[in-house]
């Protein structure tokens, strides 16, 4: 039972747990049996709950960073979330995403590379850039926003990374997965739009064939999510579908 529809949860939880025999709920729970409200047992906290980036991220350094063993790009400049009022994720149509990303944008220059720690203004929000290496193949933006003590749900997060390619590589595809919607640009050109209420699935969508230039290439991304765990993963696939790993990733 997917808990993405957070707005429903307090109501459903209240009804279910209080055992009220409301007939309208039979669509969810046929033939409500005798209800015993069993309180949760004491559940000890199992790990570090402090708001710290170091649990899931490493603050990015100037040291060279390659994609991981499967080609996933783990180093990103991540902007603090733009707060959005999003009730459900299936509103993320193509039109909605393009409008939202055009409106709540920090820069219309899609080759711009912000500086680590730089503040930018989106609407009336002042937001800070963080240069991070994810410890996982994916970048879990829920962890990011929890770590910096910002809203975890109803967010739009901008992303930038710079990859150096030792040679021109033609016919690559940018492959991404996200929760829930996202858009991706390579060197200022739109590469991929993932609309709808998606789960973060590796290679969930791929771009048309692209060319990675020799030297510096700039990826811009935007991920938007309402209820649930915002998340994404990105890599390049070569013309045979194998991950491109001979790259260097930096944030400057």
């Amino acid at each position: 039972m997917n808990r993405k529809y957070k707005y429903l949860l307090p109501l459903i939880s209240f009804i279910v747990l209080s055992g009220l025999p409301i007939s309208g709920l039979t669509a969810f729970a046929q033939g409500m049996g005798p209800q015993q409200r069993i309180p949760l047992p004491p559940i000890p906290i199992k790990g570090d709950t402090t708001h710290t980036l170091s649990k899931h991220f490493i603050l990015a350094s100037a040291a060279k960073k390659a994609p991981d063993a499967k080609g996933f790009i783990q180093r990103w400049l991540v902007l603090e979330p733009v707060k959005k009022d999003i009730v459900r994720n299936n509103i993320f149509t193509d039109h909605y995403l393009k409008t939202a990303f055009a409106t709540d944008n920090f820069s219309s220059d899609y080759t711009a590379v912000p500086k680590n720690g730089e503040m930018v203004k989106v609407g009336n929000q002042d937001l800070k850039w963080y240069a991070l290496d994810s410890k996982a193949f994916n970048v879990n933006l829920y962890h990011f926003t929890y770590a910096i003590n910002k809203p975890r749900y109803g967010i739009l997060v901008w992303l930038v990374t710079v990859i150096d390619s030792p040679e021109e590589i033609q016919n690559v595809r940018l492959a991404a997965g996200c929760n829930s919607g996202s858009q991706w640009w390579l060197n200022g050109q739109e590469a991929l739009l993932l609309s709808g209420d998606r789960d973060m699935i590796a290679d969930n969508g791929t771009s048309a064939r692209l060319t990675l230039k020799k030297g510096r290439n700039i990826i811009r991304g935007a991920v938007i999510n309402g209820p649930g765990m915002a998340n994404f993963c990105v890599r390049f696939l070569d013309e045979k579908g194998s991950p491109v790993k001979n790259l260097t990733i930096r944030y400057e």
Partner: protein
């Protein structure tokens, strides 16, 4: 003219009695159902919130199941002579703090004097901070080892695997959870032919016809994974091969449960987020499990229609044992010029051949399929409220007539002039795990045996024990 009348009446009758493509009938309204379990001849499934559904035959469902504890998305497994019922305590709390509990009962029948749940035992928790939400349990008893495994979790982080003690239902001492999947929920495990299969639900729920729920699968040689899909993608990367997705007006299937009835006959219990034929309500669904190239995929509830009934044994078709009527043939010589206009040759019509047929019972046989009227069978839901796990009984009549296939007390098959609704004229149709079908009469008169339609020799249909390992027991429905 007569043929048209007969056909028209048959069609009208079929339309009147046809049930739309509903998942199950009665009041099958449930969300997050447990794997359907059989107990003392009845079927049970429990859902979110408490309570559950009961069915006498597996087709018509009504409320009445009793599961205390509230919470969400239970599962059930029979171990020995007891049932282990597992559920999530919270129903998915907004703070992702939850617990999985297990409890035993000797019976699932709330009217039984043996009906009494044991005290629930906590076997897994989520503290609200870790990358897991302790709900949506699915349980499997490993047939190779006797070890009891449980997966749980939702889109909030990872799906986890733990081991339970099959004697106590408690967490096995010293066991630590293992992450096996990400961004999915309602998982469960299946073992088959050396592979462990992890089935899980992706997409979103609880939004009626807008829900995108679907069930996917990955597999591993080890219970702890990694579970890879058909393109080699790990379920820890979101991978998964589709098992069942929206079909027609049945939208958003999720919460897979695996049911093995006998060798070659497997079903899945699921729920659809919305059944448009039933007001868009969330309903129980039961579908055949078909194994294709080592992967499970949902078969289909039998679709009414007119078919060749093809014996898998040789590929001949079931037919009425009547004289073969030749079609006119215009001889052509070799080297004859092909410059005259080509005119279609009309198919042989029922009215042109049936007038010579006997009026009473007529035997059936299996023969070369020639698309002739005596070889085409119309199969519709019988005007009968009973069924079996996942389907109604069907009537099988010669297309364009009311002549019905029937079982005899001698364990043979023939046709009777008119369908009367007698139980020996009602047929159960199960899609088998290899995608072919088993056809069984509801009853064999004066016999308590459960027999299936089989090919005895290439040309002789009869009734006999079903044997999945023999093509004699299998049939296909060809919609030419």
């Amino acid at each position: 003219m007569k043929r048209r009348n007969v056909t028209g009446l048959t069609t009208l009758f079929a339309l009147l009695i046809t049930q739309p493509g509903v998942a199950q009938i009665g009041k099958p309204f449930i969300h997050d159902p447990s794997t359907v379990a059989e107990c003392e001849g009845k079927y049970y499934t429990f859902g979110t919130g408490g309570g559950g559904l009961i069915s006498n035959d597996g087709w018509t469902w009504h409320g009445g199941g009793v599961r205390p504890g509230g919470g969400a998305a239970p599962d059930v497994i029979k171990i020995g002579d007891r049932y282990l019922v597992i559920y999530g305590a919270t129903g998915g709390s907004p703070n992702h703090k939850g617990a999985i509990l297990t409890m035993w009962n000797k019976t699932l029948d709330p009217k039984s004097s043996d009906f009494k749940y044991s005290e629930p035992i906590v076997v897994a928790t989520s503290d609200g901070y870790e990358e897991n939400d302790a709900i949506d349990p699915g349980v499997m008893l490993d047939p190779t080892t006797g070890r009891l495994w449980l997966t749980y979790g939702t889109y909030f982080g990872f799906t986890r695997l733990i081991e339970l003690d099959p004697k106590t239902g408690k967490l096995k001492a010293g066991n630590k959870p293992v992450d096996v999947a990400i961004v999915c929920e309602a998982s469960t495990l299946v073992y088959r032919d050396g592979w462990y299969y992890l089935l899980a639900t992706h997409g979103s729920c609880c939004d009626g016809a807008n829900s995108t729920y679907n069930v996917v699968v990955g597999r591993s040689k080890k219970i702890t994974g990694p579970y890879l899909d058909n393109v080699g993608r790990s379920m820890l990367e979101g991978g998964g091969k589709m098992v069942v997705a929206t079909r027609g007006g049945l939208i958003g299937p999720g919460h897979f449960g695996h049911i093995i009835l006998e060798q070659g006959v497997e079903k899945m219990s699921i729920h659809y987020e919305a059944d448009l034929e039933q007001g868009g309500r969330s309903v129980l669904g039961i579908l055949p499990v078909v194994w294709k190239d080592g992967w499970p995929v949902a078969g289909a509830k039998f679709k009414e229609g007119t078919y060749e009934i093809e014996s898998v044994r040789r590929g001949y078709g079931l037919e009425l044992a009547v004289d073969f009527t030749r079609m006119p043939v215009t001889p052509r010589r070799f080297n004859q010029p092909d410059n005259e206009p080509i005119k279609p040759v009309p198919a042989q019509q029922l009215a042109a051949v049936m007038k010579t047929w006997p009026a009473g019972t007529i035997n059936v046989r299996i023969g070369d399929y020639m698309a002739r009227p005596h070889q085409q069978w119309t199969i519709t839901d019988a005007p009968d409220t009973t069924g079996y796990l996942g389907g109604p009984y069907y009537k099988i009549v010669l297309a364009g007539t009311d002549r019905a296939l029937a079982a005899t007390a001698e364990a043979e098959v023939l046709t009777v002039p008119a369908f009367t609704g007698a139980p020996e004229q009602l047929w159960r149709i199960d899609q088998l795990t290899d995608g072919t079908y088993r056809i069984m009469p509801k009853v064999v008169p004066n016999s308590g045996k459960k027999l299936a339609l089989v090919s005895s020799g290439d040309s002789t249909p009869t009734l006999a024990e079903f044997d999945f390992n023999s093509d004699n027991s299998k049939w296909n429905f060809r919609d030419h």
